[in-house]
Symmetry: C2
DNA sequence: TAGATAATTAGACGAATATCTAAATAAAAA
DNA sequence: TTTTTATTTAGATATTCGTCTAATTATCTA
Protein backbone atom coordinates (compact mmCIF):
# COMPACT_ATOMS: atom_id res chain seq x y z
CA UNK A 1 0.00 0.00 0.00
CA UNK A 2 2.88 2.35 0.75
CA UNK A 3 4.22 2.24 -2.80
CA UNK A 4 0.76 3.08 -4.10
CA UNK A 5 0.39 6.18 -1.94
CA UNK A 6 3.97 7.14 -2.69
CA UNK A 7 3.13 6.99 -6.39
CA UNK A 8 -0.10 8.94 -5.98
CA UNK A 9 1.54 11.74 -4.03
CA UNK A 10 2.68 13.51 -7.16
CA UNK A 11 0.19 15.40 -9.36
CA UNK A 12 2.00 14.53 -12.58
CA UNK A 13 1.77 10.83 -11.79
CA UNK A 14 -1.93 11.12 -10.98
CA UNK A 15 -2.45 12.84 -14.32
CA UNK A 16 -0.57 10.09 -16.13
CA UNK A 17 -2.92 7.53 -14.61
CA UNK A 18 -5.90 9.55 -15.78
CA UNK A 19 -4.49 9.68 -19.30
CA UNK A 20 -4.14 5.92 -19.29
CA UNK A 21 -7.82 5.39 -18.49
CA UNK A 22 -8.55 5.54 -22.21
CA UNK A 23 -6.02 2.91 -23.14
CA UNK A 24 -2.36 2.17 -23.65
CA UNK A 25 0.12 4.93 -24.46
CA UNK A 26 3.82 4.93 -25.26
CA UNK A 27 6.28 6.76 -23.03
CA UNK A 28 6.71 9.36 -25.73
CA UNK A 29 3.00 9.98 -26.13
CA UNK A 30 2.69 10.43 -22.39
CA UNK A 31 5.67 12.78 -22.24
CA UNK A 32 4.15 14.93 -24.96
CA UNK A 33 1.27 15.82 -22.64
CA UNK A 34 3.55 17.46 -20.09
CA UNK A 35 5.79 20.51 -19.98
CA UNK A 36 8.62 18.45 -18.58
CA UNK A 37 11.62 16.57 -19.97
CA UNK A 38 11.35 12.94 -21.01
CA UNK A 39 13.72 11.71 -18.30
CA UNK A 40 11.46 13.28 -15.68
CA UNK A 41 8.41 11.52 -17.12
CA UNK A 42 10.41 8.33 -17.35
CA UNK A 43 11.13 8.62 -13.65
CA UNK A 44 7.45 9.11 -12.86
CA UNK A 45 6.56 6.08 -14.98
CA UNK A 46 9.12 4.08 -13.08
CA UNK A 47 7.49 4.91 -9.75
CA UNK A 48 4.05 4.04 -11.13
CA UNK A 49 5.43 0.74 -12.35
CA UNK A 50 7.04 -0.03 -8.99
CA UNK A 51 3.66 0.52 -7.37
CA UNK A 52 2.24 -1.80 -10.01
CA UNK A 53 -0.24 0.90 -10.95
CA UNK A 54 0.87 0.56 -14.56
CA UNK A 55 2.15 -2.33 -16.62
CA UNK A 56 4.70 -1.88 -19.36
CA UNK A 57 5.32 -3.89 -22.51
CA UNK A 58 7.90 -3.36 -25.18
CA UNK A 59 6.87 -3.31 -28.83
CA UNK A 60 9.92 -2.65 -30.92
CA UNK A 61 11.48 0.63 -29.85
CA UNK A 62 8.34 1.63 -28.02
CA UNK A 63 7.36 0.99 -24.44
CA UNK A 64 3.63 0.76 -24.03
CA UNK A 65 2.18 1.70 -20.66
CA UNK A 66 -1.19 0.47 -19.43
CA UNK A 67 -3.22 1.23 -16.32
CA UNK A 68 -3.39 -1.74 -13.95
CA UNK A 69 -6.99 -1.73 -12.79
CA UNK A 70 -6.39 -4.56 -10.33
CA UNK A 71 -4.25 -2.32 -8.17
CA UNK A 72 -6.73 0.53 -8.55
CA UNK A 73 -9.25 -1.83 -7.01
CA UNK A 74 -6.92 -2.60 -4.12
CA UNK A 75 -6.82 1.13 -3.50
CA UNK A 76 -10.59 1.32 -3.78
CA UNK A 77 -10.93 -1.33 -1.10
CA UNK A 78 -8.54 0.55 1.16
CA UNK A 79 -10.64 3.70 0.91
CA UNK A 80 -13.92 1.85 1.45
CA UNK A 81 -12.37 0.19 4.48
CA UNK A 82 -11.64 3.61 5.93
CA UNK A 83 -15.36 4.21 6.19
CA UNK A 84 -15.94 1.04 8.20
CA UNK A 85 -15.63 0.82 11.98
CA UNK A 86 -13.64 -2.11 13.38
CA UNK A 87 -16.95 -3.50 14.54
CA UNK A 88 -18.21 -3.65 10.98
CA UNK A 89 -15.12 -5.39 9.66
CA UNK B 1 -7.07 16.62 -4.05
CA UNK B 2 -3.39 17.35 -3.72
CA UNK B 3 -3.58 17.98 0.02
CA UNK B 4 -5.40 14.69 0.45
CA UNK B 5 -2.75 12.65 -1.32
CA UNK B 6 -0.04 14.58 0.45
CA UNK B 7 -1.64 13.64 3.76
CA UNK B 8 -2.03 10.00 2.76
CA UNK B 9 1.59 9.63 1.69
CA UNK B 10 2.77 8.97 5.23
CA UNK B 11 2.07 5.60 6.91
CA UNK B 12 1.66 7.15 10.36
CA UNK B 13 -1.04 9.47 9.06
CA UNK B 14 -2.85 6.62 7.34
CA UNK B 15 -2.77 4.71 10.62
CA UNK B 16 -4.19 7.69 12.49
CA UNK B 17 -7.12 7.78 10.09
CA UNK B 18 -7.72 4.09 10.68
CA UNK B 19 -7.70 4.64 14.42
CA UNK B 20 -10.31 7.35 14.03
CA UNK B 21 -12.73 5.03 12.22
CA UNK B 22 -14.03 3.94 15.60
CA UNK B 23 -14.72 7.45 16.83
CA UNK B 24 -13.21 10.61 18.19
CA UNK B 25 -9.86 10.58 19.98
CA UNK B 26 -7.83 13.27 21.72
CA UNK B 27 -4.37 14.17 20.46
CA UNK B 28 -2.91 12.51 23.53
CA UNK B 29 -4.79 9.27 22.98
CA UNK B 30 -3.62 9.17 19.39
CA UNK B 31 -0.02 9.90 20.34
CA UNK B 32 -0.09 7.03 22.82
CA UNK B 33 -0.53 4.58 19.96
CA UNK B 34 2.75 5.52 18.33
CA UNK B 35 6.43 5.24 19.21
CA UNK B 36 6.98 8.86 18.35
CA UNK B 37 7.02 12.16 20.22
CA UNK B 38 3.86 14.20 20.67
CA UNK B 39 5.11 17.09 18.55
CA UNK B 40 5.61 14.69 15.66
CA UNK B 41 2.08 13.37 16.01
CA UNK B 42 0.85 16.94 16.33
CA UNK B 43 2.48 17.72 13.01
CA UNK B 44 0.82 14.73 11.37
CA UNK B 45 -2.54 15.79 12.76
CA UNK B 46 -1.97 19.24 11.34
CA UNK B 47 -1.45 17.85 7.84
CA UNK B 48 -4.55 15.68 8.15
CA UNK B 49 -6.51 18.73 9.26
CA UNK B 50 -5.21 20.84 6.37
CA UNK B 51 -6.42 18.14 4.00
CA UNK B 52 -9.72 18.26 5.85
CA UNK B 53 -9.46 14.54 6.44
CA UNK B 54 -10.00 15.15 10.14
CA UNK B 55 -11.95 17.75 12.07
CA UNK B 56 -10.80 19.06 15.42
CA UNK B 57 -12.79 20.44 18.32
CA UNK B 58 -11.53 21.72 21.62
CA UNK B 59 -13.13 20.50 24.83
CA UNK B 60 -11.34 22.14 27.71
CA UNK B 61 -7.67 21.29 27.57
CA UNK B 62 -8.30 18.50 25.13
CA UNK B 63 -8.42 18.58 21.37
CA UNK B 64 -10.72 15.96 19.94
CA UNK B 65 -10.00 14.68 16.47
CA UNK B 66 -12.64 13.08 14.25
CA UNK B 67 -12.47 11.44 10.83
CA UNK B 68 -14.16 13.54 8.16
CA UNK B 69 -16.03 10.97 6.11
CA UNK B 70 -17.13 13.56 3.55
CA UNK B 71 -13.57 13.96 2.34
CA UNK B 72 -13.05 10.21 2.40
CA UNK B 73 -15.94 10.02 -0.03
CA UNK B 74 -14.33 12.63 -2.27
CA UNK B 75 -11.31 10.37 -2.37
CA UNK B 76 -13.52 7.37 -3.07
CA UNK B 77 -15.01 9.16 -6.04
CA UNK B 78 -11.56 10.02 -7.34
CA UNK B 79 -10.54 6.37 -7.28
CA UNK B 80 -13.76 5.18 -8.89
CA UNK B 81 -13.28 7.79 -11.58
CA UNK B 82 -9.88 6.30 -12.36
CA UNK B 83 -11.63 3.16 -13.54
CA UNK B 84 -13.81 5.03 -16.00
CA UNK B 85 -12.79 5.89 -19.55
CA UNK B 86 -13.41 9.45 -20.72
CA UNK B 87 -16.14 8.02 -22.93
CA UNK B 88 -17.99 6.74 -19.88
CA UNK B 89 -17.79 10.03 -18.05
C1' DT C 1 -2.55 33.13 41.38
C1' DA C 2 0.81 29.27 40.95
C1' DG C 3 1.56 24.86 39.32
C1' DA C 4 0.21 20.95 36.55
C1' DT C 5 -1.56 18.93 32.31
C1' DA C 6 -2.62 18.89 27.15
C1' DA C 7 -1.13 20.17 23.07
C1' DT C 8 1.08 23.15 19.61
C1' DT C 9 4.76 26.05 17.55
C1' DA C 10 9.61 27.04 16.44
C1' DG C 11 13.85 25.76 14.81
C1' DA C 12 17.33 22.35 13.42
C1' DC C 13 18.84 18.43 10.68
C1' DG C 14 19.18 14.37 7.85
C1' DA C 15 16.63 11.76 4.37
C1' DA C 16 13.63 11.62 0.47
C1' DT C 17 11.87 13.80 -3.79
C1' DA C 18 11.35 16.20 -8.38
C1' DT C 19 13.69 18.06 -11.84
C1' DC C 20 17.40 18.91 -15.04
C1' DT C 21 21.47 17.79 -18.39
C1' DA C 22 24.46 14.39 -20.23
C1' DA C 23 25.35 9.73 -21.25
C1' DA C 24 23.87 5.02 -22.19
C1' DT C 25 20.90 1.31 -24.13
C1' DA C 26 17.74 -0.74 -27.49
C1' DA C 27 15.66 -1.20 -31.80
C1' DA C 28 14.68 0.44 -36.51
C1' DA C 29 15.99 2.40 -40.83
C1' DA C 30 19.16 3.86 -44.29
C1' DT D 1 27.19 -0.95 -40.37
C1' DT D 2 26.16 3.82 -39.42
C1' DT D 3 22.62 6.82 -38.10
C1' DT D 4 18.31 7.95 -36.21
C1' DT D 5 14.56 7.40 -32.96
C1' DA D 6 12.62 5.96 -28.40
C1' DT D 7 13.53 5.58 -23.92
C1' DT D 8 16.07 4.94 -19.69
C1' DT D 9 19.98 5.52 -16.42
C1' DA D 10 23.36 8.38 -13.94
C1' DG D 11 24.59 12.15 -11.43
C1' DA D 12 23.78 16.83 -9.63
C1' DT D 13 20.95 20.20 -7.17
C1' DA D 14 17.29 22.61 -4.85
C1' DT D 15 13.19 21.69 -2.24
C1' DT D 16 10.14 19.15 0.65
C1' DC D 17 9.44 16.10 4.47
C1' DG D 18 9.61 13.59 9.03
C1' DT D 19 11.50 13.71 13.29
C1' DC D 20 13.58 15.55 17.37
C1' DT D 21 14.29 18.95 21.50
C1' DA D 22 13.09 23.24 23.55
C1' DA D 23 9.88 26.74 24.16
C1' DT D 24 5.14 28.48 24.06
C1' DT D 25 0.03 28.61 24.52
C1' DA D 26 -4.28 27.18 26.63
C1' DT D 27 -6.87 25.27 30.23
C1' DC D 28 -7.78 23.31 34.65
C1' DT D 29 -7.17 22.85 39.61
C1' DA D 30 -5.31 23.51 44.24
Amino acid sequence: MDDIFKALRDPTRRQILQLLRNGTMTAGEIAQEFAMTKPSISHHLDLLRRADLVAVERQGQFLHYTLNTTVVEDLLRWVIDLKKTDHEK
